[in-house]
């Protein structure tokens, strides 16, 4: 099956005298019904990539294909089936929610705008704000309005730049459920950037990690997490805090202390041996917690690695 979006050797270089390579020849595909996470530390090229995919930033070289068509040549036709939402943009605040959405409906040539916006406004809990100016909405409500804007045009591909950044955890969870539901019902493909690794792990079928404009990983979130070998062992010490610190230093295990707790990082196979040594040393712990590596650990490992 051919991908809905195909990015080939995409490159963005800013400036001529002192060129800065923001995106360095990246290639990836987005399949039909796939939710793809685009991750990476600040300045890694995520937003630049999204802007190029939207056509609001011209790329230096490479190619973007949507539905098998060249984006450069068929921009308007392609964007008919593509939509976008971001926490970092806004809507004209003097206009009401409905007026804003009606304008966007016209850009997409929608005939029955009202019928499409009402259920979505209701889903996101802002139907009562329909005739209110955008200026009266809270940051969280604006984020939800952005999602309504992105989905009421019935797109095939949705690009989301940190769509849950300003939302409360419960609303954030609802948004994630909504995205999964849209994928199930309508086979929408979603490209998603977020700093919430837990959310990405739950939502995305695949995650791409960018660093300094290059793709350094492209895999399912579980595999990326598994590639981090170290587990975290968290112990609350009853007696022997100084001795456990000395033991961790002797074995060169990274550790963090907080009051009577210590968190150590090492490979899974070393855990039983370490616990045996604690018993031998007479170190007494009152609670134990073993954490498997997560996508967040992968992210941290990635950002800590130099350069």
């Amino acid at each position: 099956m051919s991908p809905l979006v195909s990015v080939k050797n995409l490159k963005k270089v800013y400036g001529k005298k002192k060129p800065f390579v923001a995106v360095d020849g990246i290639s990836f595909d987005l399949q039909e019904g796939e939710i793809l996470g685009l991750l990476g530390p600040n300045g890694s090229g995520k937003t630049t990539t999204i802007q190029m995919l939207l056509g609001t930033l011209a790329f230096t070289s490479g190619q973007i294909l949507y539905f098998g068509k060249d984006f450069k040549c068929h921009r308007s036709e392609i964007l008919q089936k593509v939509s976008f939402a971001s926490t970092y943009t806004n809507l004209p605040y003097i206009l009401t929610v409905a007026e804003n959405l009606r304008c966007f409906g016209r850009f997409y040539g929608l005939a029955d705008c009202e019928a499409k916006i009402t259920p979505l406004l209701d889903y996101f809990g802002i139907l009562d704000k329909k005739d209110e100016p955008v200026s009266s909405l809270s940051a969280g409500q604006i984020t939800r309005l952005m999602l309504v804007k992105a989905f009421f045009t019935e797109p095939k591909v949705v690009l989301l730049d940190e769509p849950t950044a300003s939302l409360d955890p419960d609303v954030s969870r609802d948004v994630c459920n909504f995205l999964l539901e849209q994928r199930e019902k309508r086979g929408i493909s979603i490209l998603f950037t977020s700093h919430k690794m837990e959310e990405v792990a739950d939502l995305c079928d695949r995650a791409i990690f960018l660093k300094k404009g290059q793709i350094i990983a492209n895999d399912v979130p579980e595999n990326l997490a598994k590639s981090v070998s170290s587990h975290r062992l968290r112990l609350t010490i009853g007696d022997g805090m100084k001795r456990i610190v000395a033991l961790a230093e002797k074995k060169a295990f990274p550790y963090k202390c907080e009051h009577r707790s210590i968190e150590l990082s090492f490979e899974e196979k070393e855990i039983p041996l370490f616990l045996q040594e604690l018993a031998k040393e007479g170190i007494f712990y009152v609670s134990i917690q073993i954490q498997e590596p997560s996508l967040e650990d992968y992210f941290l490992q990635l950002t800590e690695k130099s350069p």
Binding site: Y14, T47, T48, Q51, L54, G55, T56, L57, A58, S76, E77, L79, Q80, V82, S83, F84, S86, Y88, T89, N90, L91, P92, Y93, F104, F107, Y108, G109, K149
Partner: protein, 260 residues
């Protein structure tokens, strides 16, 4: 009262003053334009002892200059609104084409101009009992010519705004008045010094305002002035439109997101 806090307020705005083009325009540009425009008008009235239809001439000039000014700010200020509302990315990530945005803007500007002209004419009639349409509809072709020049100027300032962003936003309001002293709005071209006349005859507005004065004094319509103004307008409008398109593409190379 604390001197430190007063100085805090002073420096808060002084730093802005040093950085913004619009603060500099408030200090130098607008006073200079006003002095030039009204100084030349006064000189014309005094030198030639103009009394015939003076108020009608001045008010007609004022209303029809509004057309140029209105047209020159409509498109650029609408563009600026997208910056202020952080809506530029939302707008141009839809199927909307730049040409469609331009046509939408021209449609809106036309509607606003009809309102402005109607309102201005009505006010002049009610307040001063002067009918600027006294000579019939001969004004209309000139009005169309003024609208075109206003739009050309708006695309000129929009080109600068889309390329350089907020720091040149005052250019939207300034651009028309850059040409006002040379456009012979309130006084004939003959009052201008030699060097300024050369600039003046390159502007379509000059032919329009001179043509209007002919209508007011003799009631005849100058086809020659109208033809020259339209020819210049077509040239300037096309050039400014092409410049705007070029500036937009150049801005897209830097990224439209930087403008929000």
């Amino acid at each position: 009262m604390s001197w430190q806090r007063i100085l805090g307020v002073f420096f808060r705005y002084f730093y802005v003053l040093k950085k913004g083009l619009h603060q500099l325009s408030d200090l130098f540009y607008w006073p200079f334009v006003d002095i030039l425009l009204w100084g030349l008008t006064s000189a014309w009235i005094q030198t030639y002892n103009v009394t015939d239809n003076l108020s009608l001439r001045l008010l007609t000039g004022l209303i029809f200059w509004q057309i140029v000014w209105r047209g020159s700010v409509d498109i650029s200020v609408s563009l600026l609104q997208e910056f202020w509302h952080r809506n530029l990315i939302n707008l141009f990530s839809t199927p909307l084409k730049l040409s469609e945005w331009i046509f939408g803007m021209l449609l809106l500007s036309s509607a606003k101009l009809v309102v402005t002209i109607s309102f201005g004419s009505l006010m002049v009639y009610l307040l001063y009992s002067l009918n600027i349409f006294i000579v019939g509809w001969a004004f209309l072709p000139f009005v169309f010519s003024l609208i075109l020049f206003g739009w050309a100027l708006s695309f000129l300032s929009s080109s600068a705004i889309i390329y350089w962003g907020h720091r040149v936003e005052m250019f939207a309001w300034m651009v028309a008045f850059l040409f006002a002293p040379f456009s012979a709005v309130f006084y004939p071209v003959s009052i201008l010094p030699e060097w300024a006349r050369a600039i003046s005859w390159c502007l379509p507005t000059t032919y329009v305002f001179e043509g209007m004065r002919i209508i007011l004094s003799s009631g005849s319509f100058s086809y020659f002035y109208f033809a020259v103004s339209m020819a210049l307008n077509v040239l300037y409008f096309t050039l400014c439109l092409l410049l705007f398109r070029y500036a937009f593409e150049k801005s897209r190379e830097k990224g439209l997101a930087r403008l929000e």
